[in-house]
Symmetry: C2
Subunit: 113 residues, 2 copies
């Protein structure tokens, strides 16, 4: 339960269109759904849905500016997920080493090779 929204972030990042959307946002720094729709080969509505998912995952934030809504990147969630993955990788290594070590010490003493 301690992980931020790792599953949400992973789910959001799993879609290519969403990643392209994030790229476009990174390039513009800030943009409305309609503006982003001009960059990608999908309809504005599709973009809006994707943005909703990305915002839900904490990867972007929205702010109303007059009659339009500006979206901005939010690196925090991404960074947190990266950390989570790195620590998981470390965990795997520790786990596997421990098991391998135990197997060697438990199974092989009479038969080193």
């Amino acid at each position: 339960m301690s992980e931020t929204g790792v599953d949400a972030v992973l789910g959001a990042l799993a879609d290519p269109t969403r990643r392209a959307l994030l790229d476009a946002l990174a390039a513009r720094g800030q943009a409305s759904a309609s503006a982003l729709a001009a960059d990608l080969p999908v309809s504005r509505q599709a973009i809006v849905k994707h943005l909703a998912i990305l915002e839900e995952a904490g990867l972007v934030s929205s702010a109303r500016a007059g009659r339009e809504v500006r979206y901005t990147l939010r690196s925090q969630a991404l960074d947190a997920t990266a950390r989570w993955m790195a620590s998981l990788a470390g965990e795997w290594d520790r786990r596997l080493n421990a098991i391998k070590r135990a197997a060697e010490a438990d199974d092989d003493p009479p038969r080193p090779q």
Copy 2:
């Protein structure tokens, strides 16, 4: 193109069942599809499909042992993806700072606040 199989890893990691599968594998260190099927509430066939996807993403590796196939965790791809995400987060920060700075210098000189 330089990214390992980031999209494959993200796609693989996006599914909850697959993450549970990886957890189970981490606990056992090494296991066959049938053994893993005992841990999860899905059929062996479903497990096999997931394992195929995970192997495709480089998150696990398989090795035949007699009449069964043993699967093992592979932390490398996970670690690489974690690094990719972290660098992406850094990229976003740099991008946003640059843009914000430019906006302030270009728009606000007469109006600091």
